[in-house]
Symmetry: C2
Subunit: 121 residues, 2 copies
DNA sequence: AATACAGTTGAACAATCATTCAACTGAAGG
DNA sequence: CCTTCAGTTGAATGATTGTTCAACTGTATT
């Protein structure tokens, strides 16, 4: 019937299995959810941030502690902590000159454990 | 005792809580595991790849089907399918001119479901 | 053989991003 | 007030990466 939808202008081929496409399209989550999903995985996609989160699984730590643990500058750690905080994954509290960071979301562990199962096979 | 380890040359501060750092360091997973973990999340960090995986949750599809579904060129889909295949997340089979892709790893769904819980709160 | 089409591939381009550097804020101690 | 130190911030840089484009492979059809 239709070789290529008008709104799908960037598609350069005909539908081979229209029924399959229709069925799958019907069950696809909303665009915004898929974007949010990719965004949260993007936060996890940097090894520095993964290391920070694994550290915070164990204990509340200040920026200096994390810097020493990972052998990186305070600046780079602070930049990454900002990313983690914007994603609501960590929270912080100030005590004098020291800022302590801790985990804000407990099911990060569950996600990491599941991903580990995939990696370790 | 030691203000800054010799091997941690890029660290620009003193350890404030040495005991905490020591305890956390003791329980940190191996470097290679943390890198692999970040790598698998990097695969999930692009919305096109997330969409492809969600589509394959429902049905086996050829490149053309996915192109029509997502309104993108065959070329870009093919590039991303290659990334997913290198990560052992999808497999494919050829039937004449058509190449069908399907899910190779079932616990991707579990990872996505857990991440959805974080996103939807 | 020749055409058509599904799919792949590599180079090129633009956008994104992690780290570095330098300057800055803010709190504590002398 | 002045210094010190924990931490933040913004610009700059180098690396990575998603998409496009054009050329290509391979299979089926006529």
């Amino acid at each position: 019937m239709y070789p290529c939808d008008a709104e799908l202008d960037r598609c350069d081929c005909n539908t081979i299995h229209e029924e399959v496409v229709a069925k799958v399209r019907e069950h696809m989550p909303e665009e915004s959810i898929l974007l949010d999903l990719a965004d949260i995985f993007k936060v996890f996609s940097d090894s520095t941030r993964v290391k920070i989160l694994y550290a915070l699984f164990r204990a509340e730590m200040c920026v200096c502690d994390i810097s020493v643990l990972l052998g990186m500058t305070k600046s780079s750690i602070s930049h990454q902590l900002r990313v983690l905080k914007q994603a609501n994954l960590v929270k912080n509290r100030r005590e004098g000159k020291v800022v302590y960071y801790s985990l804000a979301d407990e099911h990060v562990k569950v996600i990491f454990d599941q991903a580990l199962i995939h990696v370790c096979e």
